[in-house]
Amino acid sequence: MLNIGVLNEGIVIDHIQAGGAMKIYEYLNLEKLDCSVAIIKNARSNKMGKKDIIKIEGPFDIDLNVLGVLDHKITINIIKNNEIVEKKDLSLPERVTNIIRCKNPRCITSVEQELPHTFKLTDRENRIYRCIYCESKFRGK
C-alpha cells in the first residue's frame, strides 16, 4: 500500500467507502484546517475490497459523529505518540443540521434557501433520518 508518512498525533478516518473521501473532506470542512491532511483513495482492504482513508495531523476539535450519518462503516482511530490510543465508535446524533440536504422538491427548504436543513433520527436501528419540515427520509450508506 502507498505509504503516507507516519502520523505522530492526529486522527485516521478509516473504512470510508471507496470514492467517498472527498465528500467527507467537504462535510468536515477540512479545507479550513491549517494542518496536513492526506486523502488515500482506493486503498486495498480485506473487508471492503477497496476503501478510502483520511489522515489528519494534530489535535483538533470537530464532531465526528456526523460521519455515522453518512457512512456507518467508517472507523476512527485517534493517534498519539505514534500509537492508536482510542478506536471510536460512531454514534448517531439525534439531530443534524446542514450535513445532509433535503432533496424533496415540494419541501419548504426548496424555496426558502436560508432555512437550515435539519434532520432528526427517527429509526436508530435502520439509521433513518427525516427532514424536520417535510419528513422526507434520508438513509446513510
Binding site: R106, I108, E112, E114, C134, E135
Partner: protein, 308 residues
C-alpha cells in the same frame, strides 16, 4: 404554547379532550358564542382553499372572535419574497392564533418555530392536514359512538390522498381497527405506510380493487376521488373508474348502520343519488369540521377551561 402541525402531535388524551369539547359545542353552540371575544384568528392561505378557510373563519366567528388574513400568495407579502419566518413574526403581533395553508411541505413547521402565537396547519402540500383528520375523527366518534372496534374501508386514491394516510395513522392508535383498502393497483397505499404503520403495529388489513364485494364488511366507508391524471394510461382509467364510484346499487350491499364519509370536494366518485341515503354523512362531516375547529381554537388559546 401549543401548535397543531401533524395529526400525531396530539396524544390520545388530548385528542379525546378536543373531540369531547367538539361534541359539547355541537349540543349547545350558544354556550360558546362569546368565548373568543376580543381574540383574532389570522388565516394565512398561500394557496386558495375556500372550504377550509371558511370553515376556520366560521369557527372563530361562532366563538365571538374576529378574523383577518389573505387567501392567496399573490395577495400576501410572499409575492414580494418575504419568508414564512418573517411573515409569522409580523402576524404574531396582529392576531392571537393563526391557521396556515401553504403549497410547500413543512411551511407551518417553519412558522411554528418563529411564531409567538399558536399555529394550526391548515394543509401543507400533500403532507399534513390535521384539522381534516380531526373532522373525520369527530364524525366517526359522534355517529358510531366510538373510535375502536370497527372495519374501515378506504376507497379511491390511496396513494396520493393525504387525508387517507392521516386517518390511517390516527385510527391505528385505537384497539381492534381493521382496514379494507380499495383502490386500483396504481393507487395503492404507499409502501412506507404498509411497512412502518400497518405491518409494524400488526393491524389487520386487506388490499383489493373490489368495492362492491367488500361493502358488507364495512362500518365506515371513506371515499376519495380517483383523478384521471393519476393513471398511466387512459384505457386503465376508463376500465377502472366505475369500480370506484359509489351508487345506490353498491349501497344495497352495505350494512344498515354503515356510514359514508368523504373529505370533499366530491366530483363523480359518489353518485348524487346516494346523497339522500341517511348513511351518506359527508355534508354533516363538513359541519362537524366547524365544531372541531372551534374546539381546537379554544384549546390552543387555553380557553377550554374557562368555557362556563
Amino acid at each position: 404554547m401549543r401548535h397543531l402541525i401533524s395529526p400525531l402531535d396530539l396524544s390520545i388524551e388530548e385528542l379525546e379532550h378536543i373531540l369531547c369539547l367538539g361534541q359539547e359545542i355541537m349540543e349547545s353552540p350558544e354556550k360558546f358564542s362569546h368565548i373568543c371575544e376580543g381574540k383574532k384568528l389570522a388565516t394565512l392561505f398561500y394557496e386558495p382553499s375556500t372550504r377550509t378557510r371558511l370553515s376556520f373563519e366560521a369557527a372563530m366567528l361562532n366563538l365571538g372572535g374576529k378574523v383577518l388574513g389573505f387567501s392567496s400568495a399573490d395577495s400576501s407579502s410572499a409575492a414580494k419574497g418575504e419568508s414564512v419566518a418573517d411573515t409569522i413574526r409580523v402576524i404574531s403581533s396582529y392576531a392571537d392564533i393563526c391557521a396556515m395553508r401553504h403549497p410547500k411541505e413543512g411551511a407551518p413547521t417553519v412558522a411554528a418555530m418563529y411564531s409567538e402565537i399558536p399555529v394550526i396547519n391548515a394543509g401543507d402540500g400533500g403532507h399534513n392536514h390535521p384539522t381534516q383528520t380531526l373532522t373525520d375523527l369527530l364524525t366517526i366518534k359522534t355517529l358510531m359512538g366510538r373510535l375502536d372496534n370497527m372495519t374501515i374501508g378506504m376507497c379511491g386514491d390511496l396513494k396520493f390522498g393525504r387525508t387517507v394516510h392521516s386517518l390511517i395513522n390516527a385510527m391505528v392508535r385505537y384497539p381492534n381497527i381493521r382496514f379494507v383498502l380499495i383502490s386500483p393497483q396504481e393507487l395503492k397505499i404507499p409502501d412506507y405506510l404498509r411497512r412502518e404503520v400497518l405491518d409494524q403495529k400488526n393491524i389487520e388489513y386487506i388490499e383489493t380493487d373490489q368495492l362492491e364485494q367488500n361493502m358488507p364488511k364495512l362500518d365506515i366507508l371513506y371515499m376519495t376521488r380517483v383523478q384521471r391524471e393519476r393513471f398511466f394510461n387512459e384505457e386503465d382509467y376508463i376500465r377502472l373508474k366505475d369500480s370506484f364510484i359509489l351508487d345506490t346499487n353498491k349501497m344495497k350491499y352495505a350494512k344498515k348502520d354503515m356510514f359514508v364519509l368523504h373529505p370533499l370536494p366530491r366530483v363523480n366518485e359518489i353518485a348524487t343519488e346516494v346523497d339522500n341515503d341517511p348513511r351518506a354523512v359527508y355534508f354533516k362531516q363538513a359541519k362537524y369540521g366547524v365544531y372541531v375547529r372551534m374546539a381546537l381554537i379554544m384549546s390552543l388559546l387555553g380557553l377550554d377551561k374557562a368555557k362556563q
